[in-house]
């Protein structure tokens, strides 16, 4: 038997495979395909203080080996979540992590205080990297002072595991990672989507209502992998790897580069069973390579 358990700061995941925020709804949707307890955890859909309608349709464009989205954090707000969704999912035998989003630091604090009350939620993911909203969002994530401020203020009100989600749309992601580590982040997750754009050449119009959107999927994997590798070598806190993971080999690559946990995002649009197959694939890999624990993979790249 190989051991798939990994720790991220002080919470344990039964395996390193989790789903990325915004691509797994509130876990209930994937539960129609498979038992949520099969996965290490779920990073739930980005939640804000109040209801948000998100951006106008069309919000999606297919691109080579990827897609652009411009959802813009559509959600019914944290109170709706607590009252109507949380009770449905509280018994899932997996880690549930809330992805919180604010336009202001006060938003993040207010959200965190509400999340604090939820016993089942052992960790929070601060999204300071959403490219699809006008205020807040990525603005915090692309400068050290912005990232530091959000991290510092939330840290004051949150004692459980605090993960800060970083934007790849920066010159040096290690600077931002070090900045949030310095303000008490327990882990960093990366990457969020890359700001991109698609045009309909025949119609001469943008394909997204917002003109630009966030690029995800295998197309971004090489860049995301590089960033995870750089950040894992720059900070002491654990790293959650995200970006174009489609199969077990991809997940293993992120772990070799230094990720303790991985998030699968866009892949589940292609095949909702991929996350489960990745868990199996990692187990198989460990057996084939005579490894006892998945922890042996973390940062195991031979350079």
């Amino acid at each position: 038997m190989v051991d798939l358990k990994v720790k991220l700061h002080d919470i344990e995941f039964k395996n390193p495979v989790t789903l990325a925020s915004g691509t797994c709804g509130f876990a209930r949707e994937t539960a129609e395909f498979f038992e949520p307890g099969l996965l290490g955890g779920y990073f739930l859909k980005g939640t804000t203080l109040k209801n948000r309608d998100g951006n106008n349709y069309p919000r999606m464009a297919e691109t080579p080996s990827g897609m652009l989205n411009a959802v813009g954090l559509q959600n019914k707000g944290i109170d709706y979540f607590i009252e109507n969704i949380y009770p449905d999912i509280v018994d899932y035998d997996t880690q549930l992590i809330i992805n919180v989003n604010g336009s202001t630091v006060e938003d993040y604090i207010a959200l965190t205080e509400k999340v604090n009350e939820l016993d089942k939620i052992n960790a929070i993911e601060l999204n300071i990297s959403c490219p699809n909203v006008k205020e807040g969002g990525m603005a915090f994530g692309v400068s050290c002072p912005g990232a530091e401020m959000v991290t510092r203020e939330v840290r004051k009100v949150y004692d459980k595991t605090m993960i800060v989600k970083l934007s790849p749309n920066v010159t040096d992601i290690t600077e931002i990672a070090k900045a949030v580590e310095g303000q008490g982040a327990d882990a960093v997750s990366l990457v969020n989507t890359f700001l991109g754009m698609a045009i309909d050449a025949e119609k001469r119009t943008p394909l997204l209502s917002t003109i630009t959107g966030g690029l995800s999927g295998p197309a971004i994997k090489p860049i995301a992998l590089r960033m995870v590798w750089q950040v894992a070598n720059a900070v002491k806190i654990p790293v959650v790897g995200i970006g174009g993971i489609m199969n077990a080999a991809d997940a293993i690559e992120f772990m070799l580069a230094g990720a303790s946990v991985v998030q699968v995002g866009t892949a589940i649009f292609k095949d909702p069973m991929i996350p489960v197959k990745i868990v199996e694939g990692i187990e198989d890999y460990l057996k084939r390579h005579n490894m006892q624990s998945v922890n042996e993979l973390i940062g195991g790249l031979q350079v």
Binding site: G22, T23, C24, G25, E29, T30, E32, F33, F34, K45, N51, D53, G54, Y57, P58, R59, M60, E62, T63, P64, S65, G66, M67, N69, V71, Q74, G217, P218, T266, I268, F269, K270, D271, P272, M273
Partner: protein, 258 residues
């Protein structure tokens, strides 16, 4: 117990209905769940360069005896074209069953089903499933010309068939909303159902609203996931932005912001 599935089906038939429409039949080696008109499958287009996402197609027919699902695929772009090239004997990965069905008519309803473009399949499926006597069901199909219509004579046992074509080569000349069953008798129907191009459905909805007739449309918004997690397929409704893939694809026009 899962309610939705990802599965490789065996393609048992792919036949051209006309130059751009194909009937694709796939068989499962396990029992099919119940699938209703309006519900759809999300199909992986394999071995195609630069196609990343699945493509959604309405279920056209279900044969529970043989565990066979059929779809009518109209060539629109790269993915649908590639799909119509699939050979009997190959595999097709589908996510299914997705979406919700129509509000079924009651025994005393008189219904009009309007299909255009890629929206014909769910209308024919609903005609068959409606359980109404043939005289209570009218099907109106619209297309550019005779060549773009598919042969649906088999449905004469379920409904009266009416055709509109822009060039007048089959049925009445013009759009479906210019057809006599629509212009002259709209109030004779208690329920109208429509699926097709956005413009067509909006035009129908406008008239149905004016005539105060119950009307449901099946939308075909662009989708990434098809099962409610990505929030890309949204349609503004009176209940806020709703997901076409899970809250729909069928919507009552009174709920839409049209």
């Amino acid at each position: 117990m899962p309610k939705k599935f990802v599965k490789e089906f065996n393609v048992i038939e792919n036949s051209a209905l006309n130059a751009t429409n194909f009937l694709i039949k796939v068989q499962s080696d396990t029992e099919l769940p119940e699938i209703k008109p309006g519900q759809f499958v999300n199909i992986e287009i394999k071995e195609a360069e630069e196609i990343f996402l699945r493509r959604p197609f309405s279920v056209f027919e279900v044969d529970y005896e043989n565990d066979v699902i059929s779809m009518i695929v109209k060539i629109l772009g790269r993915g649908s074209r590639k799909l119509t090239e699939i050979k009997a004997g190959s595999k097709l990965s589908m996510v299914y069953p997705l979406g919700k069905t129509f509000t079924y008519p009651s025994a005393d309803d008189k219904i009009l089903l309007i299909g255009g473009g890629s929206g014909v399949a769910p209308m024919l499926f609903l005609a068959k499933e409606s359980g109404l006597p043939v005289e209570n069901v009218d099907i109106l199909l619209g297309a550019r010309s005779k060549e773009d219509h598919i042969n649906v004579d088999d449905y004469k046992k379920y409904a009266s068939l009416h055709y509109a074509s822009e060039d007048g080569s089959l049925g009445e000349k013009g759009f479906v909303t210019q057809h006599s069953v629509f212009t002259d008798n709209l109030n004779s129907y208690t329920k109208i159902y429509a699926c097709g191009p956005d413009g067509m459905m909006r035009a129908i909805a406008k008239e149905a609203k004016a005539a105060n007739v119950f009307c449901e449309v099946s939308l075909e918004n662009l989708m990434a996931c098809g099962f409610g997690v990505c929030l890309c397929c949204i349609e503004p409704t009176n209940k806020g932005n709703q997901c076409v893939c899970t809250d729909g694809p069928v919507f009552n026009i009174n709920d839409l912001k049209w």
